[in-house]
């Protein structure tokens, strides 16, 4: 679809703007807390601080904007959250100067931090309390890179909105809150007071958001007065009218719906820097009624359509304007990205079980293709009831090679949720967020607590509980591996180590959950999530209808190949002894290249539809699942597993020495549930069969990446086969798949490092082949073609 000049400029502005750290929020919050009364309950205090931010933070309406509001003072300006994690001056310097994901820190910000923010928050931030409360064993494991901790500088979030805001204004929410307040039973309910405080807090935040809208209306009116361009003046007046109506009232049309959501988005992400991915979820189904109404009521339906497109373009740019909050320390290393994982869901099933594809679904796909922005990310939710043409339309975007949209099995996502006790309509109104995580939108706190380094566990088992990187005895003495008589002995040690560290992780999580419940209630987020208002409870304290906690397993491919290598070579073929294996690992294979090749090439490996390897994958899955699934969290919910890495496989790799699968020390682990880079030699169908050996329904999400070259998808036939490949995987109960349609640059890397790209398939002439098996001349030729073919 055509992109207007306005959108082109706004998009370019978003791309060009430099990520900048702003002290505005920190300063406002410091001022508030410095004067705050002590005789106020924590939720109300938090709500008042939120109201202060909504009343005083700077308002930004950029030239030509149709959707208004920024988290910072301008696009790409990021606030900080010193109550959670107070950056030191050194942190600010690092953020300003580091090569990757840097944030500009200007003199004012640095000064404000030095003069007021740091002096006030030092010794008061939640992060400091958290590390104070943590046990030595937790800290040792954390520092060794056995697991990470999501909440050490970002609040638990991981929730996505359902459709309620599109028919509920903030005034309606206030009415609901008042009803709950009226119903409080101080005679019989011992929690009546805490409920009252929580509800009062919610009420304050709802009013605060209305005020935030009004302030935008005022700014728009103000700009309209001085605007010379009559067309823009009308637009600004319209914006003022919209911001007066929403968020106070439910939206009446398409434009108001988008603007309302955006105010809510800013509210949630200003209240706390919630991990991850707060987003509108099923945007197509939420917008569909407004879109149809717009078509029906506008005089020229084509005009409405192009307005709707332009509004969506502007909406997309808004997401791209928000870099993830600047992180420090390990957390920056474990996911070094500006992306904050908003994932718009398209398609799937409606709550009544019918096909959720509408005109807006296709419209959103057009927008994704037009915008080519990293944020918001997007996914298609594919149910067997959704038509192939929908998947194929998405495949056409995928082949342009920017990795969007990712593809989910909507039927499986529903099944996953129903398995853990969610109602069928709630499950169908749910979907996926962040990378691949399943949740009941608008009704669930599904909190990711941290990544878990599974190959590192084996490393400990191979060293009797000692971390060879630091020489520290981290785990229990699970036995000297040189004395293991059988593979089972090793596996028992592996299980023992895993149990130890899962327990340590969960103990830590339980404490952290309570810290947030006690000190950091989120009344604004709470009023948006069922059934917090009904229960009078906070999002962090069991208010949501569903409460899940996840520990995300990383390195399934690596651990499978490691176990397979030990089983095959040490215990079955006996061509290597355990002491030999350990010597090689210690030497990082220096002087053992031939044996490393044996491990790499003569071992049954995951991703080849080979049961010898895949059985081990299933076994590790069951062990991990068995140790986590169903354990209670502190919010009345349960633990579940999911298997995804974001970019943590790089960080975990960097703390894990050489591994028995031939992987060299400090190099990345396998990502998601994808095979080790280059281990899969039998094409995508074999990978999908292997991956489907796990029981995805018992997870809250798995992540599978596949690399394709553009040639494989260049024609209709190639696209159709991609659709069929996806459908087949989903018939086998796969949860998610995404395709990297690789560019020439990657092919160049593959040339330099063929061992890591052995799974890369290219279309050659009338057939397809592994890129690395081709002659140099042909590789060059394909690279030339790829460059030629870029869209």
């Amino acid at each position: 679809m055509p992109i207007s000049d306005r959108v082109r400029k706004l998009r370019q502005q978003s791309l060009d703007a430099r990520e900048t750290l702003s002290s505005e929020r920190a300063e406002l919050l410091t001022e508030f807390y410095a004067q705050a009364s002590n005789l106020v309950s924590t939720p109300v205090q938090r709500a008042r601080s939120f109201a202060t931010l909504m009343e005083h933070k700077s308002i930004y309406i950029g030239t030509g904007e149709l959707i208004v509001g920024e988290k910072g003072s301008a696009p790409k300006v990021a606030p900080t959250y010193p109550e959670l994690c107070c950056h030191s001056l050194e942190d600010l310097d690092i953020l300003d100067s580091r090569e990757k994901t840097s944030f500009k820190v200007d003199a004012h910000t640095r000064q404000a931090y030095a003069d007021t923010v740091i002096p006030f928050w030092q010794g008061r931030s939640l992060r400091e309390l958290l590390f104070l409360e943590m046990t030595d064993e937790w800290k040792a494991a954390y520092e060794a890179g056995i697991f990470t901790e999501f909440m050490e500088q970002r609040a638990p979030g991981h929730t996505v909105l359902d459709g309620k805001i599109y028919h509920t204004g903030m005034l309606d929410f206030i009415a609901r809150i008042d009803k709950s307040l009226e119903g409080l039973d101080f005679l019989n309910d011992p929690q009546a007071y805490s409920k009252q405080e929580e509800l009062k807090a919610m009420r304050i935040t709802a009013q605060a958001l209305i005020r935030f809208g009004e302030r935008h209306a005022e700014e728009a009116r103000c700009q309209a007065h001085t605007e010379n361009d009559p067309i823009r003046r009308l637009e600004l007046e319209k914006i003022a009218e919209i911001c007066t109506h929403v968020p106070a009232n439910a939206p009446r049309d398409f434009w108001e719906a988008l603007q309302y959501y955006w105010f809510v988005h800013l509210g949630v992400t200003t209240e706390l820097n919630t991990w991850d991915s707060f987003c509108p979820g099923h945007l197509d189904r939420h917008l569909e009624p407004f879109f149809q109404k717009g078509l029906e009521t506008s005089e020229v339906s084509a005009d409405f359509r192009s307005l709707a497109e332009e509004l969506l373009h502007c909406f997309w740019i808004k997401f791209n304007n928000q870099p993830a909050p600047p992180k420090v320390g390990v957390t920056a290393a474990e996911s070094g990205t500006y992306t904050d994982f908003a994932q718009i869901n398209i398609g799937g099933l409606l709550a009544d079980g019918s096909d959720g594809i509408s005109d807006v679904s296709y419209l959103l796909l057009d927008v994704i293709e037009d915008m080519r922005l990293l944020q918001p990310s997007s996914s298609i939710q594919v149910s067997k009831k959704n038509p192939d043409r929908f998947v194929k339309r998405a495949a056409k975007i995928i082949r342009t090679g920017f990795g969007q949209p990712s593809i989910f099995n909507a039927d499986m996502v529903v099944q996953e949720m129903v398995r853990v006790g969610k109602s069928l309509p709630d499950a169908r109104d749910g979907g996926t967020s962040g990378c691949v995580e399943t949740g009941a939108f608008g009704k669930e706190a599904y909190i990711l607590t941290g990544y878990f380094n599974i190959p590192k566990i084996l490393e400990l088992a191979l060293h009797n509980g000692l971390d060879p990187r630091t020489g520290q005895q981290l785990g229990p003495q699970s036995g000297d591996p040189a004395h293991f008589a059988a593979f089972e002995d090793l596996y028992t040690a592996f299980e023992q180590q895993m149990r130890t560290f899962i327990d340590i992780k969960i103990k830590g999580n339980n404490l952290i959950e309570q810290l947030y419940a006690t000190y950091m209630p989120a009344p604004f987020l709470s009023l948006l999530v069922d059934d917090c208002i009904l229960k009078g409870k906070d999002y962090h304290s069991g208010g949501p209808r569903y409460d899940s906690s996840y520990i995300q397993g990383v390195g399934m491919g690596t651990i499978t190949d490691c176990l397979s290598a030990i089983k095959e070579h040490v215990f079955e073929k006996n061509d290597l002894s355990m002491p030999q294996m350990l010597t090689m690992l210690e030497a990082d294979f220096e002087g053992f290249e031939r044996q490393r090749q044996l491990l790499l090439n003569k071992t049954p490996r995951y991703g080849n539809d080979d049961p010898r390897a895949d059985d081990l994958l299933v076994r590790v899955f069951e062990t991990y699942y068995g140790l986590i699934e169903g354990r209670p969290n502190t919010r009345g919910g349960r633990y579940h597993i999911n298997l995804l890495p974001t970019t943590c496989h790089i960080y975990f790799g960097s703390v894990t020495g050489a591994t028995p699968d031939g992987r060299q020390a400090w190099t990345p682990l396998s990502e998601g549930i994808s095979p080790v880079q280059g281990a899969d030699r039998h094409g995508p169908t074999a990978v999908l069969k292997s991956a489907a050996r796990m029981d995805h329904v018992r997870t809250g999400g798995t992540l599978l990446n596949q690399k394709f070259t553009p040639q494989l998808l260049k024609d209709e036939d190639g696209l159709n086969k991609l659709v069929q490949l996806v459908r087949s995987y989903f018939k086998l109960d796969g949860h998610h798949i995404q395709f990297n349609v690789v560019d020439a640059e990657t092919l160049r890397l593959a040339q330099k490092n063929p061992a890591r790209y052995r799974d890369l398939i290219v279309r050659v002439a009338g057939y397809s082949d592994y890129f690395c098996d081709l002659s140099l001349a042909l590789q060059e030729e394909i690279i030339a073609r790829t460059e030629h073919q870029e869209f």
Binding site: N601, T685, N720, L725, I761, A765, Y767, L776
Partner: protein, 299 residues
């Protein structure tokens, strides 16, 4: 138990028939086409192929060879093909997989087990199995057994053939083949002999026979510059195909200079080292010309 010699099994094969397929490459071929892109398929017995870019120069192959066929060259081990017995001992110890034995004995159940692994993908895509080579009918009993076994399991079958076989064999295969991918190079018998080593008489007769039976045939023409891409050749191909009882659809496949490294790895000479692939536009012109014979042409 009947065994065959298979030199490769490719899954997610998406260019050799409908849907997502598994292609079984069988070793051995009667023809010796100058442009053959699978030179390792020609001989019927296993051969060792060498890929120098994988070799880490460990020397294990030299120690393992009991026939003294290997010696150190400037850039790695050299194979004396006159002495090499293709026993595969060198490949066995080559952990880096620089030396590999192309072609392995497989039983029918082994091949069927591999085929059956991808049934979910055939079901979804309308795919199945393609027998290719080499010339699959060169291992006629084995090929026939695979085709029969597939049909018994309701798996769609494609036979990718050069057509050089006795009619009797082809006729036996017909009931178990859902689609023939039939290679046609040139019509002129002398030219055919020059470039492939054998006359094409039976190839043309067999194609006529299949056409008469009305079975599904897709004729595939590799367009080799200087060999069959001139007006005269296209004229003859067009006339021949349009005169068949049931003129088949056809597909033009552009020659590709992809196999040079494989020839080197087998220590055999490549007859067309400098031939450039035909231009896309040229293929389109040829396709248009053939469409003039009222043929359905994909290019």
């Amino acid at each position: 138990m009947l065994n065959g010699i298979v030199f490769d099994i490719k899954k997610y094969s998406i260019n050799d028939g409908p849907g997502i397929r598994t292609t079984i490459f069988l070793k051995g071929c009667p023809l010796r086409c100058w442009w053959c892109h699978n030179p390792e398929s020609q001989a019927s017995q296993p051969q060792v192929i060498f890929r120098p870019n994988r070799c880490d120069l460990c020397g294990a192959c030299l120690e393992a060879c009991e026939h003294s066929a290997l010696s150190w060259g400037l850039n790695g081990p050299l194979t004396d093909r006159a002495v090499c017995e293709s026993c595969g001992a060198c490949a066995q110890v080559c952990y880096a997989e620089a030396r590999q034995l192309v072609g392995r004995q497989m039983s029918l159940p082994e091949v069927m087990a591999e085929i059956k692994q991808d049934i979910p993908f055939y079901d979804e895509s309308g795919g199945g199995v393609t027998l290719s080579g080499g010339e699959p009918l060169f291992q006629k009993e084995f090929s026939l057994e695979i085709l029969k076994a597939c049909h018994k399991q309701d798996i769609h079958t494609v036979l990718d053939t050069c057509g050089y076989a006795s009619w009797q064999i082809i006729e036996q295969a017909v009931p178990f083949v859902d689609l023939f991918l039939y290679d046609l190079k040139v019509i002129d018998a002398g030219k055919h002999k020059q470039y492939t080593g054998l006359s094409n008489e039976c190839i043309l007769v067999n194609l006529q026979g299949l056409s008469r039976l009305g079975v599904n045939v897709l004729v595939r023409i590799p367009v080799i510059p200087g060999v069959n891409d001139d007006d005269q050749e296209m004229q003859q191909i067009g006339e021949f195909l349009s005169a068949l009882p049931n003129p088949p659809p056809l597909e033009l496949l552009a020659y590709h200079n992809i196999a040079a490294a494989k020839y080197a790895g087998l220590d055999t000479e490549y007859a067309l080292p400098d031939l450039k692939p035909p231009a896309f536009e040229h293929i389109q012109t040829l396709a248009a010309r053939l469409r003039g014979f009222d043929l359905s042409v994909k290019a």
